[in-house]
Amino acid sequence: MPKFVVSQLKAFYGDAATKENEFAYHLHPKLPEDPATGRLENWSWAFIFDHMAQGRVDGLISFGMNPVNNGPHTRKVVYALSQLKWLVVAENFMTETAYFWRPDILATIGKKPADVKTEVFLLPAANFAEKSGSFTNSARWAQWKWKAIDPPGEAKADQEIVGRIFMKVRELYQKEGGRFPDPVLKLDRPYANPYIPTEEEIAREINGKDLTTGKQLPLFTALKDDGTTSCGNWLYCGSWTEEGNLMARRSLDDPTGLGFFHNWAFNWPANRRILYNRASADAQGRPWDPSRPGIFWDGKRWVGDVPDYPATAPPEQGWGAFIMVPEGVARLFAPKGAFVDGPFAEFYEPLESPVPNLLHPKRSHNPVAVVFKTTEWDRLGRAEEFPVVATTYRLTEMFHYWTKNNPYLVQLQPEFFIEMPEELAAEKGIENGDMVRVISARGEVRGRALITRRMRPMRVGDRTVYPIGMPIHWGFIGLGRQEGGAANILTPTVLDPNSFCPEYKGFLVRVEKA
């Protein structure tokens, strides 16, 4: 068993994880096996709600997410939630997910509150400014931040909500037993107060320690597979060492001038600022651009960013830049089995497209894309009925689905709108600011027309295609005009076959003046 796994199991189960019991791997949560295929089931985002829609899920605990708005295909998600026995939502504000049983939201699936048996709990949660912790940005910098104010009223930090629920469940298992109590009873919670772990305790636990000396580990290279180290997540090993909380570093020192800032926060892995930085130097270790040397061999060691290999390994040893593949060099194609749709990158039209794929019209879209057919809303539209191409996006003024509770930001963007080209508006008799309907095979939204020359008709093949665009930030609940303008009512549950990322960004609709 790899040292990363053993160390994680030690962090989870502590003394209950021993060499003899395979470090309690049998207690670790695992995906169920599909008896028909013998393969592990898929429980990524869209599959969770598909399983839920099939009545396979009893309960859902939802933190910091608003699936009704942010998943593809809102109506399917509302239907899926209505199949739950119970739902717990921990949030800063009332959300469409916590209130999916409100008459106007349930009306989207033709149900009434009396039809729904789901028991719903909304727990007030502290927001980002009301608790300490770390943010990891898209450049992998884990930056510590400090609580600014106490959460209002009964709102609690996420780890306290989890801690209290967990301790209550453990208490019930202790009293009443159960089918498989050990994962709950043997989970190690080495916190001063197991009901309220501190952010610092959790961060130290994630970094991990040497169990023989009790010292914080310096880096993931120190992990062992014999059960003498613990580490919640090897990527963050090195973030809270014996030197302290390296995520809290705030030095603006940048000797290379390339913006590495090695002493600002912690960059997983190993505080490395650029992955595969070896690619910035030639075979002899000389920088391709001497004026901007990302990393170079100075005769004795690698200088610049943190190398991906031993810092003193000379270039002749031939460490490649791409350390995650055995050959160490970039790949032009993927080996067999790496991607289910083949070794080469290939262009496919979206499942819903008004035109055939000009490269190979008989195989317009990805033949192994995941397409659901579970509910009556898992439908795809055809261009004859839905000739307009739609996409969705975010606005700089808003952040997902919760800034609609901030009065200043709602003033900046008060209402759901649909951007469309002048030509489409003229064809449909739509004036700027008019109310319009947008209809896809899944559902319908109403919003204001924003007619703009930023969106142009496209000439594709032998036809003119109109694109329209909708920001995602509105829904049923919040300040301003929240009248059901949730863009994801329209989007399909179609997934990329490798990443299972939903195909939010290209689908077909029809536009009408309301």
């Binding site: 003024e397 003033q411 209402e415 924003l450």
Partner: protein, 303 residues
């Protein structure tokens, strides 16, 4: 009004020269239009710092722009204009607010002593307690910035955060800007930065890039870098703003006002000489009762 008094350079409707002796550097807010992303963080920062209310029910009017224009409780606005130029489509996101002119038309036009103050650092500030709500400043402004509040009867506009600046802080909009599109500093620093940025823009193909700091109003303390500097109109900025009409009104045509005033006095004297004093009948008793008062304006209408 400033939290700690800033040195004064000029005061409306006042002939006494200000007593400033200190050498105060002028300040400039630099707006690099080329790096604005239209996030409007500056709009929110302005409203929050100045305790101006948010209107969550404002109508949608088919634009990304928050409001059609400035308002008495909305002192700066990102203008979103879609224009076609040289075969290229441009979406000009341009911050608009008081320009803090070197030669402020509002201050020249204002008849209320002390209602408009120009500080030695260049900030032009409205002092609402001295404002009489006549609206002359609105007419006098070549940028159409000041706005009269119907609820308070006073005129308001961007203060360049004179309260923050007097405490050594940058204006709230500058602090909030995530792209460094906005900078704040001394005039020398900011003009040097503006010129440097113009050279950068020229180097990447914006050969008409220019600094917008119009001389017709004595230069401004809100200065722009415009990628298409030869066409300020596409950014919603006037090409050649000037205060000349204020000059005509309060300078060249001053004799007319003098004629009216002194002619009136002369006429009164002549009238007295010709007809003598007016004979007033004996005063009648005034009925007792409360003196009617004008209704107090209510500040802070939340719109």
């Amino acid at each position: 009004m400033a939290f700690e008094p800033l040195a004064v350079k000029a005061v409306s409707a006042s002939v006494t020269p200000p007593p400033g002796i200190k050498n105060v550097p002028e300040v400039i807010k630099l707006i690099d239009v080329s790096s604005c992303i239209g996030c409007k963080a500056c709009e929110v920062a302005c409203q929050e710092w100045n305790d101006l209310p948010a209107n969550v029910n404002r109508p949608f009017f088919g634009s990304y722009q928050t409001l059609p224009d400035l308002d008495w409780n909305f002192w700066q606005l990102i203008k979103f204009n879609e224009v076609q130029r040289d075969g290229r489509f441009i979406w000009t996101l341009t911050k608009y607010q008081c320009m803090h002119c070197g030669d402020p038309g509002c201050l020249r036009a204002c008849p209320a002593p002390g209602a408009i103050v120009q500080y030695a650092n260049g900030i032009v500030d409205f002092v609402q307690e001295n404002c009489i709500g006549c609206g002359f400043c609105i007419t006098g402004c070549p940028f159409d910035v000041p706005r009269l509040s119907p609820s308070t009867g006073k005129v308001y506009k961007c203060t360049l955060c004179s309260d923050r600046v007097s405490a050594g802080l940058e204006p709230a909009c500058v602090k909030a800007c995530p792209t460094k599109c906005l900078s704040f500093g001394t005039k020398d620093q900011m003009l040097a930065q503006a010129n440097y940025r113009v050279e950068q823009l020229k180097a990447i193909g914006y050969d008409k890039a220019a600094v917008y700091n119009p001389p017709g109003v004595g230069g401004t303390h809100a200065v722009y870098v415009l990628p298409y500097g030869d066409s300020p109109e596409i950014y919603g900025l006037p090409r050649n703003p000037s205060v000349s009409f204020v000059d005509v009104w309060k300078g060249g045509l001053r004799w007319l006002g003098n004629l009216v005033v002194f002619g009136g006095i002369l006429g009164a004297v002549l009238h007295y000489l010709r007809f003598g004093p007016r004979r007033v009948p004996e005063e009648e008793p005034v009925p007792a009762g409360p003196t009617p008062r004008p209704t107090e304006p209510v500040p802070g209408d939340n719109g």
